[in-house]
């Protein structure tokens, strides 16, 4: 027999001002199964919680209903209080009479009636509650980080420094990501490779980090604490453990004019066997078979093989699949730039001297194609006038993306500054919509570029760029002065919008995490759980979540790492017990539930007799994967599966309680 206690909260005047709390209490006492009902000024206060606890103890309550604020506010508070008196936490139900009654309705009598209805509904629900035990899942204390950019590296280093083994998987031949492509970083003008390479080397030397470069995660199954991961190690055609990185092989490769260097954003060429840049980690070349003469011309060219001292070039090497088990995953897949050619008026792709921001970084960089001397890609001369165009693709819902790419204002200012420093007497013009310089030292930096470095900022857009006598004629509007402007420039740099890495959607689907309409991974909660994905055990970092700068990417990598170290500080992970369960006596093994389950949480289970003979097969719920959404319940023809805490029985009782 149920012994329910009903506690009506005044919430000061927040509830009591609009709702007759005494009447609810009085009505509650009339509901069958309710043995006590009280009202109190602040149930969530210490005395309020104590009265709840005393009542549970003294009245031997089997269930508690709080008519109070939203369960999203204080459900946990009251559950904890109940647990202290030995009550199962799921025997606490909340009737939301503040957010959904007193704050939204004005007629006191009708609001009170609604509050009474909600209270009764919850009494019926709590009567049918069954004790639910939280599920404990053992943890494999190893982590996988997908993406070896700055956020992935930071995550891997932080996890490793906590004494946990990390697998770091990077698609490219070297770690370093986008940051290692940059020249100097705003607003401090630290050289990017100077601050990045030590971190990359640290990754390579850390005994807790297992590095997989030129590799891709191909399949992920399992659940928090127990993910099974398949990693494809693409063939490098180089025996990694023997390679010394001496460079003899790429020095003799005859294919040095044919392949565009991805690292230099197609501004230079690379060989078929190559390291993307001199400070690559690991310093082991990979052989690009699509460009290699040996593979194109039936094995004739073996120059690199002959040049290699330790004989570590292996033309017969094949892709290798490695299987690993990890307990947690960080998705840090990074970003790409939008395709500039959708803006035909800017002439990107048509005029060689119209470049993207990342290409300009490579032109500035000492390790770049021009060794840090700014030269026009068309004729190699030094530009004297450069026009920078911001928001190319960003904040343009018509042709590009509606969001702000966040880093462009700052890197454009940095470009203008570095240009002024490297080419004395030069002039830069910046077309902008707004200047967004909100972090520490950013606004001052942009001011400095305008005031000390003489960059001319023009608020407005560019309508057309065309070539005339070796110059790029930029036509645009200066909306502040209301004038049309025409600038004869030597180069144009486009601050291109940031988009998720090509293939990020595939990674998200493989991991079972959600992403927004642009393809950026979405957080479990945008404010309060920014490092967690919607799937337990999978964490997010870096630009894969949306545009952010280097410090923010580093912070997000550390945040994901600290979440994982926190998770791994226990031996088991506790999952909320409100998950699906199968009635094995009535299940007919049609597995419709399996087909609707979005989490792969349902599989077959064999029931055997004592001699080991299979009597029947039934559906079985994996508690580590089940999230308790309840889609399976409606798919079941034999009504053999139900979600704890939201059973059919409870919901029908709630509906019946509202009968008129």
């Amino acid at each position: 027999m149920s012994r329910i206690g009903v506690f009506v909260c005044w919430c000061g005047s927040n509830i009591a001002g609009t709702v007759d709390v005494a009447k609810i209490t009085e009505e509650a006492k009339k509901v069958p199964g309710v043995v006590t009902a009280v009202d109190y000024k602040y149930m969530c206060s210490d005395p309020g919680q104590n009265s709840l606890r005393n009542m549970i103890r003294e009245q031997n309550l089997t269930g508690v209903v709080l008519a109070a604020c939203s369960p999203h506010m204080h459900e946990n508070t009251f559950r904890k209080a109940a647990v202290k008196e030995g009550l199962n936490p799921y025997f606490v139900e909340i009737a939301n009479i503040r957010e959904q009654v007193s704050w939204v309705h004005e007629d006191k009598e009708r609001a009170t009636q609604k509050a009474i209805d909600l209270m009764k509904m919850m009494v019926e629900k709590v009567k049918r509650d069954k004790p639910i035990e939280d599920v404990r899942v053992p943890l494999n204390k190893r982590a996988l980080v997908i993406g070896g950019g700055i956020s992935g590296i930071q995550a891997a280093l932080d996890i490793a420094s906590g004494g946990v083994e990390v697998l770091l998987v990077e698609k490219e031949p070297s770690i370093g990501g986008r940051m290692i492509q940059l020249d100097e970083t705003f607003p401090t003008l630290d050289c990017s490779s100077c601050i990045m390479t030590p971190k990359m080397v640290e990754v390579n030397q850390n005994p807790n980090i297992k590095l997989y470069t030129y590799s891709e995660v191909e399949d992920v199954s399992g659940y928090i604490g127990n993910f099974k991961v398949k990693i494809r190690k693409k063939t490098k055609s180089v025996i990694e453990k023997d390679c010394t990185g001496c460079g003899e092989c790429w020095n003799v490769c005859p294919m040095h004019k044919n392949v565009k260097s991805e690292f230099n954003m197609n501004l230079s060429e690379r060989t078929a066997i190559y390291v993307p840049f001199p400070q690559a980690v690991p310093l082991v070349p990979v052989l690009d078979r699509s460009a290699c003469l040996h593979f194109k011309k039936g094995g004739k060219c073996v120059k690199c093989y002959e040049a290699c001292g330790p004989k570590c070039i292996d033309f017969d090497m094949k892709d290798e699949i490695v299987e690993e088990t990890v307990g947690a995953i960080v998705a840090a897949t990074g970003y790409d730039l939008m395709d500039n050619s959708i803006y035909g008026e800017y002439g990107y792709g048509k005029y060689k001297d119209v470049v993207s921001g990342l290409q300009f970084e490579r032109l500035l960089s000492a390790s770049g194609p021009t060794e840090g001397v700014i030269k026009r890609p068309s004729d190699g001369t030094t530009p004297q006038t450069i026009v920078f165009i911001q928001c190319v693709g960003s904040r343009d819902p018509e042709k590009g993306v509606p969001y702000c790419s966040k880093v462009c204002c700052m890197y454009t200012a940095k470009h203008a500054k570095l240009f002024a420093h490297k080419v004395h007497g030069s002039q830069s013009y910046v077309f902008y919509i707004d200047i967004r310089a909100t972090s520490k030292g950013y606004e001052e930096f942009v001011r400095g570029v305008m005031e000390q470095d003489g960059a001319i900022y023009l608020r407005g857009r560019v309508s057309k760029i065309y070539e005339d006598g070796g110059k790029l004629i930029v036509k645009g509007a200066d909306t502040l002065s209301g004038n049309q402007v025409e600038i004869a420039a030597d180069m144009v740099v486009l601050a291109t919008g940031v988009i998720p890495k090509n293939g990020a959607g595939k990674v998200a689907q493989m991991l079972g995490i959600s992403y927004d309409k642009y393809g950026f991974f979405t957080e479990s909660h945008p404010k309060l759980r920014p490092a967690e994905s919607s799937t337990a055990g999978i964490f997010l970092a870096g630009m894969a979540q949306g545009p952010r700068d280097i410090p923010e990417s580093v912070v997000s990598g550390s945040a994901a790492a600290s979440k994982i170290l926190g998770l791994f500080s226990k031996n088991e992970y506790e999952v909320e017990g409100t998950i699906a369960s199968v009635n094995e006596a009535t299940c007919v093994a049609c597995f419709y539930c399996q087909r609707v389950c979005g989490f792969n949480a349902i599989g077959p289970k064999e029931i055997k007799d004592r001699s080991g003979k299979i009597i029947k097969v039934v559906a079985n719920v994996n508690p580590g994967l089940c999230t308790g959404c309840g889609a399976c319940v409606n798919a079941c023809f034999s009504k053999s599966i139900d979600v704890k805490g939201f059973t059919d029985d409870q919901i029908y009782a709630e509906i019946r309680s509202l009968a008129i």
Binding site: M1, E99, W103, V104, H105, L118, A631, L658, A659, I660
Partner: protein
């Protein structure tokens, strides 16, 4: 057993109390998901927006948990309108629950119509956790619509 007896007893009692459930004061039941719509309704509260008090919310983990028979049961118990609401497509906390909900609803709606239910009494709407204002307008508009309908057109499931 005991519970069932209680229910029967209460059903009888409640027939005589309060909320008359007439055309002028219809009972509306909303089945909502915990993550988007319930939070959206909470936001309407924290923003102190005002809306029609005819609605009674039943919280479920996900709109994918909403069994079409809940809707029938709601009508049987005298509801004059039923609202189903969850996260926008692509925003489901459980990745695909709202798609299941949408598909089930599309199929079930036809069946309801075939059975003789006035389909303007059933409303399906996506309301996110940040759309307190949408919750308010959906509830107000739906309530006004139900009030404008002839009372008898929902009695199909009542004995």
């Amino acid at each position: 057993m005991e519970d069932k007896k209680e229910d029967k007893k209460r059903d009888k009692e409640e027939g005589s109390v309060k909320s008359d459930g007439s055309a002028g004061d219809p009972r509306i039941i909303a089945f909502v998901c915990n993550w988007c719509t319930y939070s959206g309704a909470d936001l309407a509260g924290t923003s102190r927006m005002k809306y029609s008090d005819n609605v009674r919310v039943i919280k479920l983990p996900c709109s994918g948990r909403i069994d079409p028979l809940f809707i029938v049961e709601a009508f049987k118990k005298g509801a004059k309108g039923v609202l189903i609401s969850g996260c926008h497509p692509g925003d489901c906390h459980y990745i695909s629950g709202n798609y299941h909900s949408r598909r089930k609803y599309a199929a079930f709606r036809d069946l309801l119509g075939f059975l003789g239910v006035d389909l303007s009494r059933v409303e399906f709407s996506w309301i996110s956790a940040s759309e307190g204002n949408k919750w308010v307008s959906v509830i107000n508009e739906f309530t006004a619509k139900i009030k404008s309908l002839k009372s008898s057109s929902s009695d199909i499931f009542k004995k």
